[in-house]
């Protein structure tokens, strides 16, 4: 009898905190619960995980060489399911499934690398602008305004065009494309971080940290960044989707990943000539881009709801 009320009370009130870190752990637990309740977001995460697994284990999963040209079938793409090609072949007899999986490696790793660069630059610029404010803030924000008002795609095309023209088109490899996109896509992140810092630096905990003699880098890294990490994570997730599309557009127009290396965009560009009789060459790469981007967008939406303390 004496035990029953205690259990009821425990269920109503959270147990007392033993360690200072426990509150964060509980918040994370809550965010995870909110995220898993968002069914579409969870589906998106699972789909994305499958894509990543397919990309990582591409060499094990496929017994076809993605770049091996089958001279028997040049000019006559094989339909899905013929001669052991599960999804058929392209116009020079390369296995489509193998190319899709190796293409996933390129497209996904490129997008993630770009977003890491973009987040790093954007966070540093936004943190400096938001924390110090004043004229430095004014200057940095006008610079981001200028970047934001130049259309990104033409600028990217001109830069990749310059790289392609200065040596051969093969110079347009993974690294140069990562650097070009990464260096140009940080302004929205900078704005986001600046906005978060502007409001956070006036909060009591920040004042307290300053009062006990915390140095600027310590306050920024230990107090301000952890408190503004949620919107940064959401932005990063959604930007991975954007960069996948951006890379595919560049490759589609011929200024991205160069053949014979496979990327989803370049596969689609390659399939344009044969679409009237080999639909699979265009449909499957296109579906890969669409499904992956959709999965990431749903996941980002779920993360936004899960990490936002105002959403119940």
């Amino acid at each position: 009898m004496a035990i029953a009320p205690r259990v009821a009370v425990q269920a109503e009130f959270p147990p007392p905190l033993d360690q200072p870190g426990e509150e964060y752990a509980r918040e994370r637990h809550l965010a995870w619960k909110k995220f898993t309740r968002h069914r579409l977001a969870l589906t998106g995460a699972v789909v994305l995980l499958l894509m990543v697994l397919a990309a990582v284990f591409a060499p094990l999963l496929s017994h076809w060489d993605p770049n091996a040209i089958d001279s028997n079938w040049v000019g006559t793409p094989l339909a899905p399911g013929t001669y052991g090609h599960a999804l058929g072949t392209d116009d020079v007899g390369r296995d489509l499934l193998a190319r899709l999986m190796f293409g996933a490696r390129i497209s996904l790793s490129l997008a993630v690398t770009v977003v890491v660069i973009e987040i790093l630059i954007g966070t540093v610029v936004g943190a400096i602008a938001g924390y110090y404010g004043g004229r430095l803030d004014y200057l940095l924000m006008r610079a981001t305004d200028v970047f934001l008002s130049i259309p990104l795609l033409p600028l990217l095309l001109v830069l990749t065009g310059i790289v392609a023209a200065s040596s051969t088109k093969a110079a347009l490899n993974f690294d140069s494309i990562v650097i070009i996109i990464g260096v140009l896509s940080w302004p929205p992140v900078a704005r986001l971080v600046r906005g978060a810092f502007l409001s956070l630096r006036e909060k009591e905990f920040c004042e307290a940290a300053r009062a006990i003699g915390g140095s600027d880098p310590r306050i920024v890294i230990r107090h301000l960044l952890p408190n503004s990490i949620a919107p940064i994570i959401v932005q990063a997730t959604l930007d991975v989707a954007n960069v996948i599309i951006l890379e595919s557009v560049l490759s589609f127009l011929g200024f991205g990943i160069q053949p014979p290396m496979a990327s989803w965009g370049s596969m689609l560009a390659n399939a344009q000539d044969t679409i009237t009789y080999a639909w699979w060459d265009a449909i499957f790469p296109g579906l890969c881009i669409f499904v992956t981007v959709l999965a990431i967008n749903y996941m980002g939406d779920g993360l936004r709801d899960a990490l936002d303390p105002n959403v119940k």
């Binding site: 008002s149 130049i150 023209a165 127009l253 967008n297």
Partner: protein, 327 residues
């Protein structure tokens, strides 16, 4: 209001100068620069190149070259296009109407469809229509422009819709490319050529607009002045459009302005796929053949368009929200 418009226009000038500086600096790194076409010509020696460089003033320091370039641009001398064999201004003026026709009709289409979707979804939240609109928004944002274009071409141009019912045969196909048919064409022919490019180009904007209109309209619907309007006995349409939409439009205007660079980028892809003779396709041609002056011209026109559009968005705020004071 007028003084604000003038002051805001003047503020756009330094922005234009900085953008022009960036454009000039980037294209300055183009290998061979404006002389690139001569470099591949075996009849032109290194000494000729040196002489050409001197005659064109390309050996002068960067600031002087930039100042000279700006001077020429302001006076309407945009240089000579190597690939089109005509002045750059001529090429631009030839292609600008087609591009404007495509982008402006896409924008109008996206505004009409996107706003209606957003309003309907906000008025009937969690209804089947709302689920349709929200799902559509996600699909539209995730669909790569060129893949959607290829799908549409395959469905409507290669195959078309052929149906037979009650003795009538329906044969519906759309032209897959170009601005008009080869025999030239009237207004109707041009519209038929525009249908697919406009749908493709506006997809992303329809998705974005409907999402933001829904969110902002839902917020407005719960305000006190909406309840007052309803209590006064105004008609439903009047409440939603006059009192609701006008207030809900504020954040949407920001989004419209923000998606403009994306529209311009999408136009490049759309024009390339549909062989539409606009500036975007000209830009890709110029890029492939390293036509230096044409690239410069295109980027400058683009920057002007985007800056002008941001200006228009700023001025729209004043009309939407009289609380904004301009002094």
């Amino acid at each position: 209001m007028l003084t604000y418009a003038i002051r805001r226009t003047l503020q756009a000038i330094p922005l234009m100068i900085i953008i022009s500086l960036i454009i000039f600096a980037i294209l300055d790194k183009m290998p061979g620069g404006p002389l690139a076409p001569y470099l591949q010509n075996p009849h032109i020696t290194a000494a000729d190149i040196k002489r050409l460089e001197h005659n064109f003033g390309l050996d002068r320091p960067f600031p002087i070259r930039y100042a000279a370039w700006i001077g020429h641009y302001v006076t309407g001398d945009w240089g000579w296009s190597q690939t089109q064999s005509e002045p750059v201004t001529q090429s631009m003026l030839e292609r600008l109407p087609a591009t404007l026709k495509l982008t402006v009709s896409s924008l109008i289409f996206a505004l009409i469809v996107g706003l209606s979707f957003g309003i309907i979804a906000a008025v009937k939240p969690y209804s089947p229509i709302d689920y349709f609109v929200t799902t559509f928004a996600f699909f539209g944002q995730s669909m790569p422009v060129f893949f959607f274009a290829i799908l549409l071409q395959y469905a409507l141009a290669v195959h078309g819709i052929h149906a037979q019912a009650f003795g009538y045969a329906l044969n519906f196909t759309l032209p897959s490319a170009g601005l008009t048919s080869t025999e030239g064409g009237g207004f109707f022919d041009q519209v038929r050529h525009l249908v697919m490019p406009v749908i493709v180009l506006s997809l992303l904007q329809v998705a974005t607009f409907s999402r933001f209109t829904r969110a902002s309209m839902q917020e407005v619907l719960h305000t006190d002045y909406m309840r007052t309007a309803a209590a006064k006995g105004l008609s439903f349409g009047r409440i939603i459009l006059k009192h609701g939409l006008k207030n809900a439009l504020m954040p949407v205007v920001t989004i419209v302005a923000l998606t403009m660079p994306g529209l311009v980028g999408g136009a490049i892809v759309t024009e390339t796929i549909f062989a539409y003779p606009g500036m975007g396709r000209l830009f890709i041609t110029a890029l492939n053949q390293q036509d230096f002056s044409l690239l410069q011209g295109y980027l400058v026109v683009l920057a002007v368009l985007v800056v002008a559009f941001n200006l228009a968005a700023d001025l729209t705020y004043g009309w939407l929200d009289p609380r904004i004071r301009y002094d």
